[in-house]
Structure formats: C-alpha cells, structure tokens
Amino acid sequence: MLAWKIGGDQGEGIDSTGDVLARVANHMGYYVYGYKHFSSRIKGGHTNYKVRIATTRVEATTRHTDILVALNQETIHRNFHELENGLLLADSAFKPVLPESASAHLLTLPLTEMAKSIGSVMMRNMVAVGASAALLQMPVAPFIDYVTAKFEKKGEAIVAANRKAVEIGYQRIVDEYAALLTFKLEEPVPGDRLVISGSDAIALGAIAGGCRLLCGYPITPATEIMESLAKWFPLVGGAVVQMEDELGSITAVIGAGFAGARAMTSTSGPGISLMQEAIGLASVTEIPAVIVDTQRGGPSTGMPTKQEQSDLLALLNGGHGDTLRVVLTPGSVEESFEDAAEAFNLAEQFQTPVLIATDLSLSLWQQSVERSRLKASAQPIRHSATFSQEDLLALGESAFQRYRLTDNGVSPRSLPGEINGQYLATGVEHGPSGKVSEDPVNRIQMMDKRLSKLEGIHQMRDGFKYEGPMEPVLILVGIGSTVGILREAATHLPAKVGVAWFRTLSPFPTERVQSVLAPARHILVVEQNALGQIRQLMTIHGIADSRFDSYLKYDGVPFLPEEVVDRATPLLNTLEVH
C-alpha cells in the first residue's frame, strides 16, 4: 500500500490530477481511496489530493505519505512532515526548498518548462502524473490509454499533448532518478471496480430505489447528490428541481409523496434546521419522504467544508411536538447505496419520512467499490399498503378511511387519480377518515398509531453491525465515515478488537446494541462531534455503564486510523493489567 499526494493552489486542477491517478490505479486493479484537503474558497489557497493505492479495500486516509508532488513551496511546508523517508517531487520552477527537519528525498523536475515545451503550461499536471507513475513504478501504458479516452472528445491535438505530457514526465524520472525508485506496489487484484463517492452512491441508490424527483437547494457538501441526479435523471425520466430554498424543497417532496411518487431532497445541517417543521408535517400526514443530511461542521454556517457528525440529535428531535423519525446511518459507500434505495422502500411502506445521515467525508471522498455492490437489481422496489382502484371501487363512495387504525400503525392509502380514494391529508390532528378532529380519545389513538410504526421498521432492519472477533476485549463503535477508519484502526491493534456501527439510529436497535456489546470489556464510542451525541442516544436507551468511553473530535478534520490506534492502545494496556 502506498500513499501519493499532489498539492498546489486551488483552481490549478489539483483535483482532476489526483483523480486521474486514482482512476488509472483503480482500473489497473488496485483499490484506491482519494482524500482532498481544500480551503473554502474558489480560487487560490492550498489544496491537496491524496490517493492511497492498495491491494485490499481502503476506506480511510492516513497520516503518512510516500510520494508528494509539490506544485508550490506552500505544499512542501504544509505536507513535508508526512514524508518520512518518502519522495518529494517538486517543480524546479519555484525553486523548492526542503525544510531541514525533513527526512524525504527531494527530486526536482522542470514540470512547468516541460509542459511549455509541448505547447502549454496547462500540461504541467499531466507531466506530474507521468512522473508519478514512474515514481510508483507503475507501467505508463494505462495512463496513456486513460488520457486518450478522457480527452477523445476534445480532439486529436489535445489527446496528443496529454499523451506526450504523461510520457515525458514518466521518462524523465526513469532517466534521471532510477536510483530513487524504491517504492513498488504489490501485484494488482483484477476486478470490476468503480471509483465513486458516497454522494454518487446515494444518487445511484435513489435511482435504484425508484426515486424520480429531487427537489433541492444547493449546499456544501450535499450539492453533489443533486448534481449527479441532474445528470442521470433524464436517462430514467426523472427530474431535479432547484427550489428557492429548503422549505420549498422538503414541501415539494411531501407533495410528490402525497401524489405517489418517490421523491427526495438532499441538504446539510442548515437545510435540516429549516426543514424541521415540514418533516413534522410528513409524519402527521403519513406521507413518504426521503431526506439526506450530508453533515458538515456546525452549528450555523459553521465549517461548511469540514467533516462533522453533529446533526444526529437534530435529526431525531429537531421538530416541535412528539415525533419519532426514521434515521438511517450508512457506514460505507456501499451502505450509502443500499440505504438510499432502502429509504424509499421504508418511507413508502411505513408512510413516513426517512432521514439518511451521512457526512462530508463519506460523501465527498472517492474510493474503489466493486461494481457488483452497486446493482440496481439488488435493490428491489417494495410497493405496499396502497388501495388499488378495484379495492376502492368495491369499497364504494366516501367509505375510504385513509387513517384507519391498524395493528402496525400503517393504513393502506389511496393515490390521487383513484376513484373513491379522495381524502384530506392534513397536518392538523385528524380522525381515521382524515377529517380534522379535536377529540381527545382520537388524538391518543392517532399519536400512538404514528409512533408505533417504528416497531415495524425495527423488525425489518439490522440496525447495529459488528465485525470482529467473537470475544472482543474492546469494541470500537462508530457511525458514517468513521466506520472505515475504525476498521483500519482495528487491524493495527492487537487482536480481540471489534468494530461495531449503527445502520439505524432510529428506531434505536437497543437489544442488538446490548447483545453485540455484551462480551466487550471496554467500549470506545468514536464520534465526530463535541457533545457525544451517539453516547447520549445510547444513554437514553439505557446503554451506559462503566465500560463505555468516548473519543470525540470536533476540529473539522476526520479521525486518522493512527489516532484511533493511539487512543485505544492505552485502553487495551490498562485492561491487560487487570
């Protein structure tokens, strides 16, 4: 496993350069994980893109870098400390200086000049890609092939220039720095994998789950879901509507759900806060709706481009009045795909809003995922609890009871267009027919009916997952993007460490959490927020004792596997003393 990084100024194509490397490596059969550091500005400011290349699944970034490509001095200053015994390739154009304390080899190439020699400074990053291929001792051919395909549409001249750039970059390293070519990747593991982000996985899952309408409002880091669907929906007859705000977005989704379509909105914390009232409307009117929250640093505008997991309590309790909401929490890109699809099934089946809590890291960073894990056909659409036209005709006029009391709280509904199915769906308390009612007895029945739905969902979903030894000494508990980090950390800890994660925060999988955690002597809940929100939820559900410990981080930077190892190691040591 190697870690490569390229850094420079924002607006200089750092992203797409890293992307090329990741995609070619993936195509060759490596597992990649790409992590971007960026400033929240459009142009200028340091950015870097780190790609880990491995022969097994990677789902976290790491502290260490093997090869750093620096396009300016700031990149060196900010990143050299990661380069223990690594290689630093710098453009000689900016006269790179390696700090004294660095333990890296500095290689320079006149990247800018070389680019100019083939026609344009714009080619600089491609020269760097070629050079990187050489430094990684990867064959150059797949890179050539990739750029050929990538630029095909732009015409032969562009293709030729890009090929040339890769070639000369590659060749110069081989010619000048053969002695330094110490890094070598293991043999790749052929497979059919895509490099995708959690956002794309959610967009794909939505399509697979039958979603055909997204009404949303742009917001970092959720906009990508909307943008991908804007690209893909025309292929399946769906529509993306950019609304005037989040209040409109969620309400449009509710309208569509009332009419029988599968619709969603995607947002981040500020949007969730604005949607609180309408989520209550969906609950009370029993209308399916899917809402994705790609969490970022809060509260208020907070740290829009930074990682956090601090909306959990707001997702659960943020609206006025008594509601129980369904909150799904995918712990990987694959689970993002599955949960996105499943959210639409649950929303329709239980006629209730379903919220998906993901986070910036899980959503934005790309990684290799097996194509077989992204099959639309593996996510069958479950329709349910809808009166057919025949049923309604048989029922007769004015007999349909939209909110009839049932055992599981779900009342079969009618859809607009069906004769005899007309009713009133209102956010005001209502009786079984839908008509407004202030009757105290009815009120209790309706409240209980709505709250009882969670039990059905609870039955259907394994809300707490575990991976690890049968008799773990320590269990690391996480959520969202943290899960992959914990998995990697566990591999670096002495055996007997397991990883557990929430797939569902509500309905809270109390018994499952209890049984999974029962054998552990110590439990470390690792969450990226200041208040220990997951711990709070566990406590409410009676899951709290002296075995529990929290590892909280709220500086906007994701946990590193190494940090978790550092935090867990003394715990394990203490335990062994006893």
């Binding site: 893909w232 292929l235 409109g248 759900g257």
Partner: protein, 287 residues
C-alpha cells in the same frame, strides 16, 4: 360528468356566517364542474388560515400543509402526476407573508397549477392581525394605532415576476369569479387568481359594500386587453389594484413540459425498475 354535488363533502363549512370564503368555495366548485374536472383526478392544496379550511369542503385529494408552503407542495404533486388537475387555495397571510418567496418563484417557474388566494386583508384564523395586504392605517391587535407598512400589491408583483396568467375576482361576483378560476385552470402554466373575500369578523373596513363601491370590473371596459405586461402594470398601478377580471395572460408552456427527459406518462405510473442497459449507461459516466 361531475356535478357540483360531486365536489362537495359531507362537512359543514366552518367559517363565520357571511365570510367571503363561502363564495370562493362555491366559485371553485363551479369552475371545477365547468372544466369537467373529476374529483378523483383533482388535487387541492390548502394553506393554514380560515381560508385554508377550503380543502375540507371540496371532494378531491386534499393536502393541507404547513403555513405558507402550499405552492411547493403543489409543484411536487404536479410533477409526480402530470395528469392531475392541481389547485391551490390559501389566505393573504399564507401566500403573501410567510409564503411570499414561493409565490414569486412559482410565478417564474410556471408549473401548471392554479393558485386562488382568498384575500381578506387580515389574519382571520389567528383572530385579527395585520396582513401584507392590509391598508396603511388599518388597526388590529398587532397594530393598535394602525398599520405603518405599505400594503403588498400581489397583482403587480405577479405581473412583474413573469406570471403568465394573473387575474382578480371578488367573492360576491360569482359568475366572473368562477369564470376566472375556470380560465386559470385551463391556462397551461401557473395561474394566479387573487380573490377579494371579505372577513366579516375582523375587517370592518374592507367590507362587501366598500368593495362594491371601489372595485372596477375590467369586463366592463372593452378597451382593456390583458395581453400587454406594461399596460397591465400601468392599469394596476393607476387603479391601486382595485380591478376585477383577467389582468394579464400570455401563451405559455408549463415547466413540466420543458424538463429534459421528463415523460408524458406521470411519474407515478412509470415502471421504476431500471433496465440493465440504462443502469450501465449511468455507471459508465463514473468511469
């Protein structure tokens, strides 16, 4: 073919005796009959307010949303099922105060829905506070010494915002009102019918009599052509919006007909499974 009776529910209207909203209800029902609507394929979204109770009395698929959010809900319904006739009704507070943003954007988005605003220049349901259409000097519990804000001019705003159908009716002038709502429904795009619907309990200034004295009926003015945006604005400005009739209309293609790849068949009737070829096409954009 549906009759007036078909558009009634078995609930007694909740409004105060004499409330203008009775007339709006009647006119909507007449318009629905006139356009040969079917209760089963009609969806009505209502706002929160006295006005918003209207959905309870029209036999159709009724969605009663949160305060101010009728229009986005209607958009969702229409995009989900293009075959439905979608109407929206709500108060002046609902539409022009808390709902103002959606109002403006619905006008420019031009989804094929018909918006009936039941404008009584006051907040009825919350028992008499100033509304955006209240006149300067209007005294209410929140402005005991009289309102000091200029009233909103919904019609001028609608015309300025790119509305493709803008009209005003009066609850007491049933035939014109019903016909305006009918034309609004028939208009292939967003239609606004602002309806003067007096509140007999909390508005003792803008009464039926007052309106009868002050309103001009554009139908009585053969020279007025509702086809020129500038002229419409001038007329509205000069009359201080004290006109009823069709104020502006233009040829329009509704939003839903312009969405790339969006199909004639309503979303709700489509097969949601994605065939292998399409799926791979989607995935291929990720390579």
């Amino acid at each position: 073919m549906a009759t007036l009776q078909d558009f009634r529910t078995n609930e007694n209207a909740w409004w105060c005796p004499g409330c203008g909203d009775f007339g709006v209800l009647a006119a909507m029902q007449k318009a629905l009959v006139a356009v040969h609507a079917n209760p089963a394929t009609t969806a009505i979204v209502a706002g929160i307010g006295c006005s918003g109770k209207i959905g309870n009395y029209i036999n159709s698929y009724n969605l009663h949303v949160t305060h101010g959010r009728t229009l986005p809900a209607a958009l969702g319904i229409k995009l989900a099922n293009r075959d439905l006739m979608v109407l929206v009704a709500g108060g002046d507070g609902d539409g022009y105060a808390i709902g103002m943003g959606h109002f403006m954007h619905s006008l420019r988005r031009n989804v094929n829905i018909t918006y009936v605003v039941m404008d009584n220049h006051v907040y009825g349901l919350t028992k008499g506070q100033t509304s955006p259409t209240s006149e300067e000097g209007f005294k209410t519990k929140t402005t005991p010494q009289g309102s000091i804000e200029r009233p909103i001019h919904p019609l001028m705003l609608a015309v300025s915002a790119g509305g493709t159908f803008v009209a005003q009716g009066f609850s007491s002038w049933q035939p014109q009102l019903a016909s305006l709502i009918q034309k609004g429904i028939e208009h292939p795009g967003f239609s606004l019918i602002n309806v003067i619907s007096p509140c007999v309990t909390y508005n003792k200034v803008n009464t039926y009599d007052w309106y009868k004295k002050n309103l001009q009926n554009l139908d009585d003015d053969p020279t007025y052509q509702p086809t020129d945006r500038s002229r419409a604005l001038t007329r509205l400005h000069e009359s201080d919006e004290m006109v009823t009739g069709l104020i502006y209309q233009e040829a329009s293609t509704p939003y839903e007909a312009l969405i790339p790849g969006f199909r004639e068949t309503p979303l709700v009737h489509q097969d949601l499974t994605v065939d292998e070829t399409t799926w791979n096409k989607i995935l291929s954009t990720l390579e």
